[in-house]
């Protein structure tokens, strides 16, 4: 069996275990055996213990599903961005996509719009950001340099942050402002089943093109001329990939707020396990992202008496890992093996 297959099976088992444990952890403890029994009963169409069923199916499992969607989406999008920008240091947040999507979503929250519309606004904001970043980076003389791309992302990201600040000023200080502020720190505490039912399918739809084009995305990492000489329509492929990666990012930003670092860190961890080939990297990154978010979200809701926003936890871990990545990276491009 191929190493990648083994890794994917192993990660799926870890994810299953993490979900089972996470579903049982909380103020109302449920042993893993009871979690499995309750899920099996629900699948068989029977009614289990009503208390357990309420906690599991109305509160915890929707939130865990949201964590899986968020981790999978941000990590898959991050891996895709890193490949097509041929740059190990880009991710949805560094490219300004998260902030742009955040701006779109904040407007949606301000106007009290439904989740689908918040998603759509998030997508428009995120897509505008990534296009703006690519355009700014292209205008600068040293366009191949990773630093230029990162700095362009910083510029566009701070622009979006400024726009978000403006929305905060005009928001209602008693109702909307706390909601927006908390949401910007990134959290899954407000997630409802109906949100998951909108965002989950969007994430799946967005990840499908990345899976279908996995080989071509990998070849894009050779550079434009090489990829075109090998038979790839570079422009069209890139538009599809950016579109899909931005869609999944915007979709999860709409429910979880801005959760940084995941899209940068997780693809790198996946690279360490399965290597840089994108068709192997993508499934590993998606699964590892899902596991990571399930674990972090469980910590966020159980570590302290109050909920810790996830964005704070990922920033703590992510900042350290980013410095470590920088120490192993030539700023001109790909990391040496």
């Amino acid at each position: 069996m191929r190493r990648t297959t083994i890794v994917v099976i192993g990660l799926s088992l870890v994810l299953t275990a993490a979900v089972t444990i996470a579903a049982g952890v909380g103020p109302y403890r449920i042993p893993p055996g009871d979690v499995i029994a309750a899920i099996a009963a629900r699948l068989a169409g029977e009614d289990g213990d009503p208390n357990i069923a309420t906690v599991l199916f109305r509160v915890r499992l929707p939130r865990i599903a949201a964590a899986i969607a968020v981790g999978a989406a941000l990590s898959g999008a991050g891996a895709a961005y890193q490949n097509i920008f041929r740059n190990p240091l880009v991710s949805p947040d560094i490219l300004g996509v998260s902030a742009g999507a955040g701006f779109g979503a904040v407007i949606g929250i301000l106007l009290g719009l439904p989740v689908v519309v918040i998603e759509a606004l998030g997508f428009i904001g995120g897509a505008s950001s990534v296009i703006l970043v690519a355009a700014v980076a292209r205008m600068l003389p040293d366009r191949g340099n990773v630093l230029v791309l990162v700095l362009a992302g910083v510029v566009v990201g701070s622009l979006a942050s400024a726009a978000i600040s403006f929305v905060k000023i005009i928001a209602d200080p008693y109702e909307q402002l706390p909601m927006i502020t908390y949401w910007l720190l990134g959290s899954l505490s407000g997630v409802r089943l109906s949100d998951v039912l909108v965002v989950g399918p969007t994430v799946v739809v967005g990840l499908v093109p990345l899976f279908l084009l996995r080989w071509r995305i990998g070849v894009l990492s050779l550079g434009d001329d090489d990829a075109r000489a090998l038979g790839i329509d570079v422009g069209r492929t890139r538009v599809w990939v950016i579109g899909a990666a931005t869609l999944v990012t915007a979709a999860v930003v709409a429910i979880s707020g801005v959760i940084g670092w995941v899209g940068l860190m997780v693809p790198h961890m996946a690279r360490l396990v399965v290597g840089p080939r994108f068709d192997r990297l993508l499934p590993a990154a998606i699964l590892m992202g899902a596991i990571f978010m399930v674990v972090v979200d469980t910590l966020a809701r159980t570590l302290a008496r109050i909920e810790i926003p996830i964005g704070i936890l990922t920033a703590l871990v992510g900042g350290a890992i980013f410095v470590w990545l920088l120490s192993r990276t030539r700023l001109g491009g790909w990391r040496q093996p």
């Binding site: 996995r214 050779l222 075109r228 000489a229 090998l230 038979g231 790909w334």
Partner: protein, 291 residues
């Protein structure tokens, strides 16, 4: 092999700015065409035009009577392979994976490589003598080995035309000689090759024909004997150059340094040359001179 490749009154250029015009010739299957010219004259642009990466400013390139500019990318990639000057991808990729990427035009839009692609890639790596290093990351290979990986990638592509952009540029003398042999062997196996080089002597060794891209947008093509004269090369590189024959009959290009008589003159007029009095030749030519 019945490939017919034809350049019809082609003008090449970058971003609408013409570089060289009047490119008009037929290419025979199984032949090696060397492309020479000073830096920045348009050698790479000529290759990019042939590969359909930039459109010609005028004229057309016909591959079996079809205009390359109208072919789809996969259709071109199945017929024409590129060996780029250097590897620009992720240094973490294993050599084998880079070679498998050569199969892309034969992999479906939504597919990935299958066993057959891996077999073809391993065979190509074996052909260039790199089978042992298939699993090694490209970043850990030497410049010469990396070049071989890129050649293997072109072989795995199974295109009948292979375009090599200054393949010898970063190679040491041993690898350079091996490369020229490989170019001949590839042509002998029926491939049609284009090779650009900064060292016109190499054209004598491998080229069936030499294309010269000169300053002032001149294009000339012919056999190495006809085209590579000392006068033309001196004009081309804006340096006073002299073509000399070594004892074994090979031609080398040397600067016509004032105060130094050429080897040929000494050889014919002054008898045997004392070892210490030989004119200074570049390091990689010295070995040749002494054999």
């Amino acid at each position: 092999m019945s490939t017919r490749l034809r350049f019809e009154h082609v003008t090449i250029g970058n971003g609408g700015r013409p570089l060289v015009d009047g490119i008009d010739f037929d290419v025979a299957a199984g032949s090696v065409t060397c492309v020479i010219g000073p830096n920045g004259v348009g050698k790479t642009t000529l290759f990019r035009t042939l590969l359909g990466l930039v459109p010609p400013i005028a004229g057309r390139i016909l591959l079996d009577d079809r205009d390359v500019a109208t072919l789809r990318r996969t259709a071109i990639a199945r017929r024409i392979a590129l060996v780029p000057q250097s590897y620009q991808g992720d240094p973490g990729h294993a050599a084998l994976d880079v070679v498998i990427m050569g199969r892309t035009a034969r992999i479906g839009l939504f597919g990935g490589p299958v066993r057959q692609d891996e077999v073809a890639a391993r065979r190509a790596l074996d052909d260039v003598g790199m089978a042992d290093l298939a699993g090694r990351p490209v970043g850990l290979l030497s410049g010469g080995q990396r070049q071989l990986v890129l050649i293997a990638r072109a072989l795995a592509q199974q295109a009948e035309i292979v375009v090599m952009d200054e393949p010898a540029a970063s190679l040491d003398v041993g690898h350079r000689i091996a490369l020229l042999r490989r170019v001949r062997a590839m042509a002998a196996s029926g491939l049609t090759l284009f090779v650009s080089t900064h060292e016109p002597e190499q054209a004598f060794e491998v080229a069936d024909r030499v294309a010269v891209l000169g300053p002032g947008a001149r294009f000339e093509i012919g056999t190495a004997e006809d085209i590579l004269t000392a006068e033309r090369l001196s004009t081309l590189y804006a340096t006073d150059l002299r073509l000399e024959r070594t004892v074994s009959g090979r031609r080398v290009l040397v600067p016509a340094a004032p105060g130094h008589a050429s080897l040929a003159e000494r050889g014919s007029d002054a008898g045997p040359v004392p070892a210490g009095a030989r004119p200074t030749a570049p390091m990689h030519l010295k070995k040749e001179l002494e054999t």
